[in-house]
């Protein structure tokens, strides 16, 4: 029979990259993102007995991540977009996308990342963020609209 540590290793640890990817888009510094994910995983470990095997571990972990994010007061720092120092040299297109994403308000950016990158449904996102599904849908719609607006001039520039 696997120990609790082994179960945690199998169930929770594989989601570390996804958590870190999203955390890096939420926090102003790369080290803050790592700290946030570390805190998330330790909170998950502490509450692992309550986790029901077979349920959505990824959604459970993201819910913990966002709770930790709010509890840590990191949201207060988010007037400034994530530091560009966190990104390795990247292609022009990716850089533009990163800039456009970072320019989105936090709520819109969060919903878009969870939907487009992590593949959560609006229902699941509503559960993770503890927000009504209608709010999630409207934030997602606005996020896509804003992103299109930001990317359009860049695309025109590219064709000149």
């Amino acid at each position: 029979m696997p120990t609790q540590q082994e179960e945690f290793e199998n169930i929770a640890m594989p989601h570390l990259p996804a958590l870190l990817r999203v955390a890096r888009r939420l926090t102003p510094e790369p080290t803050s993102a790592e700290d946030l994910v570390q805190e998330t995983m330790l909170l998950a470990w502490r509450g692992f007995r309550q986790f029901q095997p077979g349920t959505n571990a990824r959604a459970w972990l993201f819910r913990i991540l966002f709770n930790a994010f709010h509890a840590a007061g990191l949201k207060a720092h988010l007037d400034a977009p994530p530091s560009q120092n966190s990104f390795r040299p990247m292609l022009q297109e990716r850089l533009e996308m990163a800039e456009a994403l970072d320019a989105l308000p936090l709520e819109q950016r969060t919903v878009l990342l969870l939907a487009a990158v992590e593949g959560f449904t609006c229902q699941e996102i509503a559960g993770i963020l503890e927000t009504p599904i209608g709010t999630v849908m409207s934030r997602l719609s606005r996020a896509r609209q804003e992103l299109r607006k930001s990317l359009a001039p860049m695309a025109k520039e590219a064709y000149r």
């Binding site: 570390l16 994403l101 990342l113």
Partner: protein
């Protein structure tokens, strides 16, 4: 650009960023190992504490167990014995035994009255056995002058149906299988 196409571009862009989880994973694993070790030590400490508590926990004195058995035989099963029923005679017997006679009527708590008394042996020690009654219910009080070897607590102790304590003057055991022996004992402690 459709929603799906836009999402696809976002996804490709984000997933192309290199993610290094090695440091975080190492810290998390290390912390979990550390916390597991602490939890194991805490469990061991609790288990050791419980074992010690169980070892040193005050057990019911054997004289109290004997009193409970005596009550069962003499009162519940009604084995024939010679009893004194006259209050004056009972008080006189109490005085001879060194038990404060004036407290005897007062030992009956609300509604209970002294019914009978006799001397008995509990663990080779003489006790004055008093029986109080109300509406067919009875409880017993066993009294003995305090001696050097008495080691009861001066606060009321006991379990369901059995309570005991000692004062500067007496050792007292209360047995009441049908009512609250500790309540009787607490009332008794005020007059003995």
């Amino acid at each position: 650009m459709t929603d799906d196409e836009l999402d696809q571009r976002v996804r490709e862009s984000i997933l192309a960023e290199p993610i290094d989880t090695a440091r975080v994973a190492a810290v998390v694993r290390n912390q979990i190992r550390h916390r597991t070790r602490i939890a194991r030590w805490a469990l061991l400490a609790i288990a050791a504490g419980l074992a010690l508590a169980a070892f040193f926990w005050p057990r019911t004195p054997s004289v109290c167990v004997a009193a409970a058995q005596d009550h069962q035989h003499e009162i519940v099963q009604g084995e024939p014995r010679r009893w004194l029923t006259d209050l004056t005679a009972i008080e006189s017997l109490a005085e001879k035994q060194g038990v404060p006679a004036a407290a005897i009527p007062a030992l009956g708590t609300t509604g209970y009255r002294l019914e009978r008394a006799r001397l008995c042996f509990l663990k080779k020690q003489i006790f004055l056995h008093l029986v109080y009654t109300k509406d067919g219910e009875q409880y017993s009080v066993y009294l003995r002058p305090l001696t050097e070897e008495a080691s009861f607590s001066d606060s009321v102790r006991g379990s369901e149906g059995l309570a005991y304590f000692q004062t500067k003057r007496v050792t007292a055991v209360f047995v009441s299988p049908t009512a609250d022996a500790q309540a009787f004992a607490r009332a008794g402690a005020r007059v003995l």
